[in-house]
Symmetry: C2
Subunit: 497 residues, 2 copies
């Protein structure tokens, strides 16, 4: 049995127990990553006095550690989409994102995200985020060139390509290499710093919320310089404190499937403290079981010509999907091993350009030899490959609908990579659950009543992205920045209203 | 945006707003099903004044609607296990239940459940629950005879049979037909009624909890005869209000996979109000995404000779598993259709003795004909059956490890039943998430600190049962009655302490 510590995020402080307000502000923001930064800018531009409390000694959060691709489109297309020759419809974007989120989709939130996506692009440009008007036509996980646009999800893969017309929506910052995240946060930080009505407290740990006798959130307790400060927030508190992937106890309790991942993606502050603070005042935490969990089997893109199989020798997915979707389907297999079967030529590509880290599980001069080496049942892989190769020659994957572009018969000699989580391959993962919010960023309780004075954005909230199987790169930073902006606007308006 | 109603389970009332206590008791219990009834008996026997508030006009809850099998064993065996020739070890039971719960297992809770399981059996006998000392050696979903013991889960199936020595632990009440639930609740109700220190209020709706200024739960608000009553509970409130399967909004939000079920199993009171009350005072809700979801493809037991396939013609499970495990694996398939392939003799059994309701999807004088009729890729089912039949003749299922007992070659003519959820088959489901509690029944917050004065048991809590893929019949009533007892003891002790 745990003993309650004096001040922890699971137990709010009552305003009646606050003898003195050490600080007062209009809008208090917990966390200075992409969500918190955008929230601050919007709240400040609406005239509010804003104070950001950041645990670390610098801004950044997980956004700075990411590639900062930003998922945007619809509305006929962003400037970059149009310049690259893509016309994107809001309805296509909406249908695609609804399919990504599946039964747990928040329709109102997705609708709002899609309808205002072009406006969000323009806002980002207005604060100085640079995008080049060019398209990278590559199957990549991140953009290592300075191109402005690429496909970053399952848009072209079955079954998503039957739901909506594919269109690339991953917007990449105008910078060479994987440096989008640091550049993005540099721009956001400069925007924050030049606004006189935003104050940033670094090395400031938010400990718990403060509620009044009407159960409104009226402030928070912060520890700075080894002192606890009672902070009054007249408009409200916006929680932008990230997810909970670094809190292994919470991950095991809430998102058990992520325990099969090898590499937690996030910053050390992703301990779930923001989510816990929200829960402590009655906020509903939703979708807590879901997370992104991936086997980044490409690049090189030629890996897509391979087939993924389980220990029955069966395929189980179209291999032209986004890597996170493959990861999710790997976890569903009742199988001790998962393999990627490649030709020796493809394996040569793998050796030079992959960072997957999957060891070689077996090789075979013939399919039968590989079967034996992998301990597969005699005839199982032979059958799978015979079917697959026949389909390749006919130009149609009759079983899993991999697109014709990626169909090439796999002829021996063959190599099998071991994709099994826990046996060497890199399995990055992060959480997708958080506080339930309205599109405005207002945190709601289980009955979806608003908790006055409390807002959440970014990974602390449960946003538009809901499932590993429907994830696309750019949806996290897209959601964080967009939801942060709306929460900032809303909290500022509350203080004025 | 929802508007807050005056009194709802998501917003606790504050004791300072209570002008007058309409009722006072030691232990207030919400819900008179199996958990609430057992909680009341134990609290009363510990000397507490107990008041039960039941929404319906009679006791029963979901326990009365169930078969009331009770999952018990270990400790060398219960009286019925021993008399039936089974010696059960606590360690086997523990390892099995840990495997059932998987990564989200609550080890302390499962350990406690197993170690005290024989004592729980004795207690049930002591209050008059009758069990016959006999074993039903049948693969059944429920016991239609009056036998006292049967296998009710995956104990004998791969991979569970590699983790622990199989032993039957489903205890069935001494009554013919599927009448265990009503009999069980009749006995519990008589026990409640004969205790002078238990008062039962029927048609009494618990509206919300009452907390004092130290955030202790000190009572609850109840509506009776169109009046709101403030009830003070000196020892605490025990929430035994069932799960949330009847609240379709909560199911969609928290347990999206259950939306593929066709029949919600529970009573109309399973609206999640107990869970919501717990959340409103900071209780952590865990495992909310999980639920039991089944395709009850047996009885007749001979269905187990069949094979389940997806629309790629692939098997995906050992068909000797518990029906709920099949249900869970069906949902993992990326497949528009799921079929059960039977011989015509097996189909004749199905027609006479099944209540699955799965329509015939196709028939074939040859495997090729069936393949074509089902629209499967040419050669896919041919290959699967060739492999399977070869394995049957050799006596070993090399792919899915169905036990040798159930291996019989499937020879044409063949029949395919359509198991696809939503196409006719009966798909029962219920929720397995709820408030996080210590083994004592004390509700804890996200940091696992106890919320003073609040207890939960049965489906309102998240108990020993955590996953569809590891469910066994009898685990729900077993957990409800056992956890109810412990919560009753604990709440009674708190009032005295």
């Amino acid at each position: 049995m745990a003993v309650a510590s004096k001040t922890n995020p699971s137990q709010p402080r009552h305003a009646r127990d606050v003898a003195h307000w050490d600080l007062e502000t209009d809008v208090a923001i917990v966390g200075f990553g992409g969500a918190g930064g955008c929230a601050a800018i919007e709240a400040a531009d609406a005239g509010a006095q804003v104070t950001i409390f950041e645990l670390a000694s610098a801004s950044g959060g997980s956004t700075a550690m990411s590639s900062a691709e930003i998922y945007m489109g619809g509305n006929g297309g962003t400037r970059v989409q149009k310049a690259s020759g893509f016309e994107d419809s809001t309805e296509d974007m909406f249908q695609f994102m609804m399919a990504c989120a599946g039964p747990q989709a928040d329709e109102a939130k997705i609708r709002n995200y899609c309808e205002r996506s072009a406006e969000h692009f323009d806002w980002l440009v207005s604060i100085g985020v640079p995008f080049k008007d060019s398209f990278l036509d590559e199957r990549a996980i991140m953009c290592l060139t300075d191109d402005g646009l690429l496909y970053t999800g399952n848009e072209k893969a079955y079954p998503f390509n039957t739901v909506a017309k594919p269109c690339p929506r991953g917007h990449n910052l105008y910078v060479e290499g994987d440096h989008g995240g640091p550049l993005f946060m540099k721009i956001v930080t400069e925007n924050v710093e030049k606004r006189d009505n935003i104050e940033v407290h670094y090395e400031a740990r938010a400990l718990t919320l403060i509620v009044d006798d009407s159960d409104e959130v009226v402030g928070l307790v912060v520890r700075e310089n080894q002192q606890e400060l009672n902070v009054r927030a007249r408009g409200g508190v916006i929680l932008c404190a990230g997810g909970f992937v670094m809190n292994r106890e919470m991950v095991a309790k809430h998102a058990p499937k992520l325990t099969r991942g090898t590499e937690a993606i996030g910053n050390p502050g992703d301990t779930g403290s923001g989510i816990q603070m929200g829960i402590s005042v009655g906020g509903a935490a939703i979708n807590m079981h879901e997370g992104f969990i991936s086997l980044p089997f490409y690049p090189p893109a030629s890996m897509t010509y391979g087939i993924a199989i389980n220990d029955k020798g069966q395929r189980f997915i179209n291999e032209d999907v986004y890597h996170g979707r493959l990861g999710d389907f790997v976890l569903r297999q009742q199988s001790d091993r998962i393999y990627l079967i490649l030709t020796v030529e493809q394996y040569a590509d793998y050796e030079t350009a992959s960072y997957l880290g999957a060891p070689v599980a077996g090789t075979g001069e013939t399919v039968e030899e590989l079967e034996e080496e992998l301990g597969l049942r005699r005839g199982s892989l032979v059958h799978t490959l015979a079917t697959y190769n026949e389909d390749c020659l006919a130009g149609e994957d009759t079983q899993y609908h991999k697109s014709a572009k990626w169909l090439q018969p796999l002829e021996a000699p063959l190599v099998a990579l071991d994709l099994t989580p826990g046996r060497g391959a890199f399995v990055p993962h992060f959480t997708l659950g958080g506080l339930d919010t309205l599109p405005t960023g207002e945190v709601v309780n289980e009955q979806r009543d608003v908790i006055p004075g409390l807002y959440a954005a970014g990974r602390t909230a449960c946003g538009v992205v809901r499932r590993a199987e429907g994830y696309a790169s750019g949806m996290s930073v897209g959601d964080a920045t967009f939801s942060g902006r709306l929460a900032g606007q809303q909290a500022a308006a509350r203080r004025q209203g």
